[in-house]
Symmetry: C2
Subunit: 404 residues, 2 copies
Amino acid sequence: MAEADSPSAWRDIRGVGFAERAPLARAWAWLDAAPFVPACETMPAAQAIGRVLAADVSASRDLPTTDRAAIDGFAVRAGDTESAGIYNPLLLALSDSPGAGSAVPVFAGAPLPPGADAVVAFSSVSGSAPGHLQVIVEAAAGEGIAPRGGALRAGAMALCRGRRLRPPDLALLAMLGIEDVTVFARPRTRLVVAGPKGGDAEALAAMLRALVVRDGGVPSGGVCKWFGEAIAMAAEADVILTAGRSGAGEDDVAAPTLVEVGGEMAMHGIAMRPGASSGLGRLRGKVVLLLPGSPLACLIAYDMLAGRLIRRLGGFSLDLPYPCATYPLGRKIVSAIGITDVVPVALAGEAAVPIASAESAELAASCRADGFVVVPEALEGYAEGETVAVCLYDGFGRHLYSRA
Amino acid sequence: MAEADSPSAWRDIRGVGFAERAPLARAWAWLDAAPFVPACETMPAAQAIGRVLAADVSASRDLPTTDRAAIDGFAVRAGDTESAGIYNPLLLALSDSPGAGSAVPVFAGAPLPPGADAVVAFSSVSGSAPGHLQVIVEAAAGEGIAPRGGALRAGAMALCRGRRLRPPDLALLAMLGIEDVTVFARPRTRLVVAGPKGGDAEALAAMLRALVVRDGGVPSGGVCKWFGEAIAMAAEADVILTAGRSGAGEDDVAAPTLVEVGGEMAMHGIAMRPGASSGLGRLRGKVVLLLPGSPLACLIAYDMLAGRLIRRLGGFSLDLPYPCATYPLGRKIVSAIGITDVVPVALAGEAAVPIASAESAELAASCRADGFVVVPEALEGYAEGETVAVCLYDGFGRHLYSRA
């Protein structure tokens, strides 16, 4: 097997079949170690939703910027309310400016009037003589106040490098007065889908574009007839994904074409179903992934191989972009030792039910599925009733999961 | 409380405070019942990623469209391999056209040559005389074949109304030859954020734009000084979100302005922390949500109220767009009966640790949080060690959850 990792050992397997297939873990190790120079760009913070910070952001000012009222009520000196109670109401003078024995109406978020050190709520006062109010609850100093720097101190870490920006992060950056952020560039991902135009190739191209965008990449290219030329042009991208013609048939030109245009294969044939005919290679320093042309195999190979690389180049997590939950299996899954199987499942009540085998599943099965189960190489499968991890295509809003 | 639901009962609460606050469940019931006419649009299927189908899509053709080879190998008549075995190799003639006693090389995905009814794998044949091969495994009829219509029959349901389109759905639609799909229109969501420009109002606007896009809406508008004019103009939208000036202070003009321009309030004050000063109303038949101006309260009120409505109008699930998992609490949470508290938590090892109270939390705490715990109205809180559901801001790739 070591031999297969050496580009010079690549040979045309068309019409012969794969002598051996690389374990998925080896493909991942290769992808995770593929050298690249991370590219960064600076952009307006307000538009950087979903982008990944390429540098730590520290707070440029205190938040709040001044002591503020945290609630609606009256700003007072806490000392003036000492021993106040329902049976000992204390009279304070309503005032626009604070001072001993006075109370200034304030609303949540407003700067605290100087001299005041507490805010008593509407509910802590009762009726009173005109221009006055009666405090019926004793306030401690600092009560009802959001102190300057209490949320975030100037100089403290606000958001870390690697953070994928969420909606409230945009608000935090604006509150800190930070207008621009430095983020990782989105990996330019060139698609080279084996034509002819209009057939299933367009289907692959539409799917791959959506997947690349999901994983933070910028897709370009699509269906083309002349594989060689397309691959050579694609070297301007950060990653090249070919789809189709990756197998062992006579018309499976993906791997030999890559070699013809000056690239090299590192692995061809991965011990995974679907997607076994996938390959990994390089062209002018860029990774080239050969994905199968069968739509489901292409999807699985993208998810298990290509998406991981694109997420890595863009600073995202390497993890599959699906939430996972464990369920008991509604029916057994048969796999084979030495092969990673990806099995579509549907959720039925409490259980996950396989709806096709890894070997025979078609794209339509995947579209009917709620998610998939990955059967690792070391296992022959799972028994009915066994608890398995399910990657969910749409895991939002499910209050289903519990930490084991 | 019933009175508060009647628009005519609305009165200015500025400087007085909320006499009562509506339970969150009542606000949800009102939002879920708000009348609207669902709008649809037709668009190219290849660009419809993330959009929600407004009509069922049935298969316009069989998939696969013909019997196909499911594996690389040789197309044969199964009968010709009867009783073949390693000790009984059967000789077949290699041929370009099928017939009794012949074997046609085929590759996965290729149409099955007429007459053949099985495909034997490379591994099921051994060396042979030139122009011939030896079959060493008996094949059953249909083996190694993906039969026409086996994945999807013409006329069968391919994708249901309400489906949020995923990347492989785009491929399935293309394979079915479906070029256009009818999807729900994205709800036009007008933002009216209390100015002045440049302050924290810009922070709210940036956050709200990102949230609206996340939930499938199209945001417009932003920070403005003249609330009344902005609200009146916003009636062209499907939903209006105001942010800021929603409370009980003298400058809290959101509710009275809505009434001034011809709208009406339905509820003002929700029994929820943060976000208690939120309000619900209508203007010319459209829902107007009054969100607080405190950034965290605005975020929570958006998530708990506005996002739900926008998702409903766009055909999305009403569920919060976060995956949830249960964790033991690392520290107790104190809440109050009658109030729904939203408490930011950080994950620390196996536990979820509250990092601020619902009452005092600021946006920066939410940005440090991994998610939040919702303490329902009926509970006084949760004890340390108690198992709680955590909504996770970034729940992808976590192989953490198990079905209880």
